[in-house]
């Protein structure tokens, strides 16, 4: 009975997460972080490692949930724990060569596929971040304002002192073209 309740609760939380509901995120975070922290600390990690790994796992989860095709086959706790475990194992292996996490009694699920999928997305994200970073001002802010913060062209024109929104729009397109060039230069070489 409790198990079913847990699954129901987990589903609600995931729905909340998909809608970027801060409360759901907070619950997921505060309920699952301690376990992961414990696991990381146990295996030669620090607090910051725990934070990074756990947040990455949340991002994985978020991407999955937003992708829409995600159904939780285990408890959320198990999912996050497994993903964190795999992420940390990967990190340890890349840092210290071979290092196997000792098998433990905690329930885990295979998370390799999930993580591989995530890594492709993460790569894209990094390229985008890099492209935005190397774009320079005011392009970066214009694009951020328009595409990330969803501001209207009018507001942007006022903020940057363009005479009208058409001018601002032209400027935005120019920026976008630059971004596109930087992004795809990198993206296509990395593929």
């Amino acid at each position: 009975m409790k198990h079913i309740q847990d699954i129901g609760k987990d589903k609600d939380l995931l729905l909340g997460l998909a809608k970027s509901d801060g409360k759901s995120l907070e619950i997921i975070y505060s309920e699952n972080f301690p376990v992961v922290l414990r696991m990381i600390l146990q295996h030669n990690g620090s607090e910051d490692d725990a934070k990074d790994v756990f947040q990455e796992a949340i991002i994985v989860l978020y991407e999955k949930v937003c992708g829409g095709d995600f159904t939780l086959t285990s408890r959320l706790k198990t999912f996050l724990y497994s993903v964190c475990r795999h992420l940390w194992l990967k990190k340890l292996q890349s840092n210290h060569g071979l290092y196997a996490l000792p098998e433990e009694l905690e329930e885990t699920i295979p998370a390799t596929d999930i993580i591989d999928e995530h890594q492709a997305k993460d790569e894209q994200y990094k390229i985008m971040e890099h492209a935005m970073g190397s774009l320079g001002q005011p392009c970066k802010t214009i694009l951020e304002d328009y595409y990330l913060h969803k501001k209207s062209m009018q507001e942007i024109a006022e903020k940057f002192g363009y005479t009208n929104s058409e001018n601002a729009k032209t400027q935005k397109y120019k920026c976008l073209m630059r971004l596109k060039k930087i992004f795809f230069d990198k993206y296509n070489t990395s593929l």
Binding site: E26, Y29, L37, Q42, K121, Y147, Y173, K174, M177, K180
Partner: protein, 364 residues
């Protein structure tokens, strides 16, 4: 440059759905015919997706950072450390226990196998010593069983052919018969038949496994009691004394003659004699008489490894057995009187005795 700008604005309008139907159709057509433009559109889509993804991710990141900032990290760390310590302790304890268990298992297996090997060796040794004896034992058992005449095959058996047959003899005038236990063991019903061909139903009233003797009582109204011509000899007989037996290795009564060849039976059994006499399956339970016509023993079995060696339970033992029987079942004590056969020649003795020797037929 200007064219590029125009194109990009068009693409944006197209993707954001700001175009009118005609414009959209025209653009779709353009996409189809011009792969370059189609690629531009796809790239643009990808770019916008990337941007969107980045924005959401950054938003999530900032949310998480905010939540993380609110967590009481020092407490959490302390708790985690403590929990890990505890887990480590139990793990160490568990590991110790596992090791101990493994060691104990190995020790157990080693000691058990050592014991098994030692026992096996010693058994091999003792069987090597005992082999003869056991084989003899097996043989005697087999021979004893074999002495039960299987008369199933004999079609001409009178009235009902029994499953097994043996010999018995009267120990009292009123219908008590002694035979071997192995003859009547497991019997459903027992019939006894005398030389005249009269058959009587009998029941086993007393059995003694150790000496392989059974006492039957004729439970038949047609049976008439007769005084016994012979007596049970209470003392042991001397070595070399001439003895004779009568039994039913066939449907006909058969006489056999021999002598006492040893004062103990098989494997030093002091309750029996070794007799050098020809016996065959079916002789089991037959009387062994001395020259005076006294019962000195009961034929029980023979040794198959040697020719002409039979064993007979001593009459003294039979007497003790009869005395031990429950009072209400005890036969009349007729066996102590003096034998009426003394002084008669063998042919007359046989004539007198054969009436009291029965073929025991067992149905099961």
């Amino acid at each position: 440059m200007k064219e590029d700008l125009f194109l990009i604005s068009e693409i944006e309008r197209y993707l954001e759905g700001e175009m009118s139907v005609q414009e959209k159709a025209a653009f779709d057509e353009l996409r189809r015919t011009n792969p370059q433009i189609n690629r531009q559109v796809e790239e643009h889509q990808l770019l916008l997706q990337g941007l969107d993804h980045m924005s959401r991710r950054q938003q999530l990141q900032s949310q998480m950072d905010a939540i993380h900032g609110e967590l009481d990290m020092s407490t959490l760390c302390m708790e985690a450390m403590e929990a890990n310590q505890a887990a480590k302790r139990t793990r160490i304890r568990r590991r110790t226990i596992t090791n101990l268990a493994a060691a104990a298992c190995i020790a157990l297996v080693t000691s058990l196998s050592t014991i098994a090997i030692l026992q096996n060796n010693s058994r091999n040794k003792s069987t090597a010593q005992y082999e003869d004896v056991r084989r003899v034992l097996n043989n005697i058992q087999r021979s004893q069983n074999a002495l039960i005449n299987d008369i199933k095959d004999k079609n001409k058996a009178p009235i009902n052919p029994g499953t097994y047959g043996g010999t018995g003899f009267a120990v009292s005038g009123n219908g008590y018969i002694v035979t071997n236990l192995h003859v009547v063991a497991g019997a459903d019903s027992i019939y006894v038949q005398n030389t005249k061909g009269e058959a009587f139903k009998a029941v086993s009233v007393f059995e003694d496994i150790s000496s392989d003797l059974a006492v039957l009582k004729i439970a038949d109204s047609t049976f008439k009691s007769q005084p016994l011509p012979y007596a049970l000899k209470p003392q042991s007989v001397t070595l070399g004394e001439e003895v004779f037996t009568m039994g039913y290795p066939r449907d006909e009564i058969v006489y056999g003659k021999g002598y006492i060849s040893a004062k103990t039976g098989f494997n030093g059994d002091t309750t029996a004699y070794q007799v050098s006499i020809p016996v065959n399956p079916g002789n089991s339970g037959g009387p062994l008489l001395d020259a005076k016509g006294d019962i000195v023993g009961i034929i029980t079995g023979k040794q198959t490894t040697a020719d002409g060696i039979a064993f007979a339970v001593k009459s003294a033992h039979l007497k003790r057995l009869l005395d031990e029987m429950p009072k209400d079942k005890q036969p009349k004590r007729e066996w102590s009187h003096k034998s009426k056969l003394e002084g008669l020649n063998r042919v007359d003795q046989i004539k007198k005795v054969e009436e009291f020797v029965y073929l025991v037929k067992v149905y099961n």
